[in-house]
C-alpha cells in the first residue's frame, strides 16, 4: 500500500508537467500580451514601442521562451508562483480570498448534491419503473438540462420580487460573519448542487439496481430480513462508492469552472479570476490557476483511489 501511494504521487509529476507545457504554449499562441492588453485599457501611457518594450523587459517577456519556462518551473519547484503580471502583487495574495470562496462554494454544492443524490437514487432504484422512478429521473435529468446560471437568475428574480433581496456586492468570508456568509452562498450552492446531484442520482440508481440483483441481497431477503435493513446495511454500502467517486471527481471542476454562476451571483471566485486573467493576458496568474486546479483534480483522483482500497477489501493495490 505504501509503495502504491508513493507510485501514484510520483505519477502526478509528469501529468502536471504536461499541463504546465500545455498552458504555457496555449497562452503564447493567444494573440497579444499583458502589455498590449494594458495599453488598450489605459490608452496613452504605453503608446510608444520603446515604452512597451521596456515594460516587457521588466516582466521578463523579452526572454526566449525556454528561459521563461524554466524560470517558471524553478519557481514552482519552490512553491513560488511569482507575481501577477497585471497587478504586480504576489499571486498567492491574489488567489487567497477567491480560493476560500470557491472552495467553500464547492464544498457546499457537493454536500447538497450528495444529500439529494443518495436518497433520490435509492428511491428510484427501489421503485424501478413506477411513477416514482420516472419522477426522480425527470427531476434529475431536468437538473442536468437546466443551466445553473439561469436557475441562479430565476432565484435572484424570485427573491427580488418576494423578499426584495439583492445579492450583495461584497463577499463576506465565513470567519467574519458566518450567518451573512451562508445566506450569501446558499443560493448559488443550491443552483449548482442541484445540477451536480443529477449525475449522482443517476449513478446511485444504476449502482443500486446492479447491487440489488446480487446473490447476497437475495440471501438476505430469503433470511427474512427487513427491507429497510437490507437496503441500509447490505445494498447501500456496496452501491455508494461509485456515487461518492463521481461527486468527488466533479469537485475540481466546481472549484474553477463556475464562471457563469459566479458572474450571476456577483461572486469573485476562481472562475471569474480565470476569465479576467485570460482577458488580460496575465500569463503568470493564468498559469498558476491552471496548475492549482489541475493539482486539486489529481489529488482528488488520488484520494478516491486510496479510499476505494480502504473501503472495499476486494480491491488491493500492489
Amino acid at each position: 500500500m505504501g509503495y502504491y501511494i508513493l507510485k501514484r504521487l510520483l505519477a502526478m509529476v509528469p501529468t502536471l508537467l504536461g499541463v504546465a507545457v500545455l498552458i504555457f504554449i496555449l497562452l503564447r499562441v493567444v494573440p497579444g500580451d499583458v502589455v498590449e492588453a494594458r495599453f488598450l485599457t489605459q490608452g496613452s501611457q504605453f503608446q510608444s514601442q520603446e515604452l512597451m518594450d521596456i515594460e516587457r523587459k521588466k516582466l521578463g517577456l523579452d526572454q526566449p521562451l525556454w528561459k521563461q519556462f524554466t524560470t517558471w518551473m524553478a519557481g514552482l519547484a519552490r512553491f513560488d508562483f511569482g507575481l501577477s503580471m497585471w497587478t504586480g502583487s504576489p499571486i498567492t495574495e491574489e488567489i487567497k480570498l477567491r480560493f476560500a470562496l470557491s472552495l467553500q462554494l464547492a464544498i457546499m454544492a457537493s454536500t447538497i448534491a450528495t444529500l439529494l443524490a443518495i436518497p433520490l437514487g435509492i428511491l428510484a432504484a427501489v421503485k424501478q419503473d413506477t411513477w416514482v422512478d420516472y419522477a426522480v429521473r425527470v427531476f434529475s435529468i431536468a437538473g442536468l438540462a437546466t443551466p445553473s446560471f439561469w436557475l441562479g437568475i430565476l432565484m435572484i428574480l424570485t427573491m427580488l420580487i418576494v423578499f426584495k433581496w439583492v445579492p450583495p456586492m461584497v463577499f463576506t468570508p465565513f470567519w467574519v460573519d458566518p450567518w451573512q456568509n451562508l445566506v450569501q452562498l446558499i443560493w448559488p450552492a443550491l443552483a449548482v448542487g442541484y445540477r451536480y446531484s443529477a449525475v449522482g442520482t443517476r449513478m446511485m440508481r444504476s449502482a443500486m439496481l446492479e447491487v440489488l440483483r446480487e446473490d447476497y441481497i437475495r440471501t438476505a431477503r430469503a433470511k427474512g430480513l427487513w427491507t429497510k435493513l437490507i437496503l441500509s446495511r447490505h445494498a447501500l454500502k456496496n452501491a455508494i462508492l461509485p456515487v461518492l467517486t463521481i461527486i468527488s471527481l466533479e469537485f475540481a471542476f466546481l472549484l474553477g469552472g463556475l464562471v457563469v454562476t459566479e458572474q450571476v451571483f456577483n461572486l469573485n471566485g476562481l472562475g471569474m479570476l480565470f476569465v479576467e486573467a485570460i482577458a488580460r493576458r496575465d500569463y503568470t496568474l493564468t498559469q498558476a490557476l491552471v496548475m492549482l486546479v489541475a493539482t486539486v483534480f489529481l489529488l482528488v483522483n488520488f484520494f478516491v483511489d486510496i479510499a476505494y482500497a480502504w473501503l472495499d477489501p476486494r480491491i488491493r493495490y500492489r
Binding site: V30, P31, V138, A145, W150, L212, F253, G256, A294
Partner: protein
Amino acid sequence: MPGSIPASATAEELSRAGGPHAGWLGATLDFVRQRPLGAVGAGIILLMVAMAATAGLVAPYDPLATDYASMLAAPSAEHWLGTDAYGRDVLTRILYGSRTALLVGLGASFLGTTFGSLIGVASAYFGGRIDLIVQRIMDVFFAFPVIILALAVVAVLGTGPENVILAIAAPMVPRCARVVRASALAVREMPYVDAARASGFGHQRIILRHMLPNVMAPILIMATAFLGEAILLEASLSFLGLGVQEPTAAWGLMLRGAAVEFAETAPWMAIFPGLAISLGVFGFNLFGDSLRDALDPRLRTQ
C-alpha cells in the same frame, strides 16, 4: 408494496419482450411503449428540429429587426413572449436561436466524437508504447480545466459559431477517446480482428472497417450526451460574451446583459430563452438516457 425490492430481472424481461413489431413504424411504437421517457425526449428533439427548419416561415417577425416603439413590451397578442431591450420579438429570436443551438450542438458533438473515437480505437488497436503515450496525453487534458481550454481556443481563433464549435469540441475529444478505448480494447481481442489481421488487411482498414463499427454503441451514447452538453456550454459561453455574438439569435446570448438588468421589470426576457435551453437539453438528455439503457446491456433496465 411499499419498500419492496424488484425481483430478479430475467422473468420480467421475458414477459416484457413480447414479439417485436415489424417495420420502422412498429419499431417506433415499441420504443414509445417501452421507453416513454425516451419517446418524450425524441419528441422534444423533433420539435427543435422543426423549429430550426421552419423558423423563416413560422416566425412572426424579423429576428434582427429593432423596434424602439415597442421596447421591453410585455407578452401580448402581437408579441406572444414579449420583446427585448431593442424591441426585438423574443419568440422570433427563440425560434431562430434553435438554429444556433442545433448547429453548435451537432457540430461540436460530431467533431468531438469523431476525433475522440478515432484516437480511442487507434490507441487500443496499436497498444504498447503508442497506447501508453496517447493515454498520458489524455491524462494531461483531463486534468486541464475545461473552461480554460474553451476560453483559450476562443481567444486564439476569435468568437463566432465555427470557433465556438471547435472550442466546445476540444475538451470532448479526450473524454470520448477514453470511453471508446475501453470498449475497443475488448474488441481487439475478438477473433474477427485476428482474422482480418491474418488476411493481411492494413491498419487503416482494420481500424475503420472492423473495429469502429463494433464500438458504435458507446460512441452513440457519448454523441447524444455531448449534444446536450454542447448546447449548454454554448449558452454559457455566449452568456459570458465569448460565444456567438450579437445580433445573431442565440439562447445564451438572449440571457446576457439587458435580460439580467431588467429582470425585475421585464422577466420574460430572462425566463423564456432559459426555458428553451433547458427544454432542448432536457430532450437530448432524456433521449440519450433511453438510448444508453437500450444499447448498454450492463445498464439494461428491464
